[in-house]
Amino acid sequence: EAGVTQSPTHLIKTRGQQATLRCSPISGHTSVYWYQQALGLGLQFLLWYDEGEERNRGNFPPRFSGRQFPNYSSELNVNALELEDSALYLCASSFFVSRSAGELFFGEGSRLTVL
């Protein structure tokens, strides 16, 4: 069974540009989570989608947005890129919403570099 897949693996952009990252969850998983992992910092929660709806949002500015498609895949968009947006962006999926019932599975991430 395929795990969580993310694309692209690496992305280089310049300040002010837009970046789009994509994620395909494990088959059967309806929840998709996005996290930012900057060097030296813990994972920071960005967005949670379930059944096509945004369920929760982390403490990030509105230029971080996304969506979930009917097939449960998801897209993260970062507009007006800033240097500090350089980070590893991780996508994760789960079958259950509650942690008590299941595990969170992570993809290998998309490395975004903003020059």
């Binding site: 929840s31 989570y33 060097l39 813990g42 994972l43 942690r99 290998e108």
Partner: protein
Amino acid sequence: GESVGLHLPTLSVQEGDNSIINCAYSNSASDYFIWYKQESGKGPQFIIDIRSNMDKRQGQRVTVLLNKTVKHLSLQIAATQPGDSAVYFCAEGPMNSGYSTLTFGKGTMLLVSP
């Protein structure tokens, strides 16, 4: 892949040693804790979890200890192997809440020498 381990505390051990990785958490309301392993260029991988009604839980070669009094969590790895080299980090949060409420630690890099 690019390492996520820069600027992290590092624990260096010899193959066969036991390793202990520590994590201090800050939220007294947290009652669920998870340890993750992240190898270079890969996403985090679940290792073991523990609920606050327990103070110890064992898995395969790993043991998690929870001390709620001092808000401290530790991960013990027995007979450490080179394949255990990775960044390890803890996560905490309320049990009956979604993954979006987890708070993640910065992590510790474990280096295992043959």
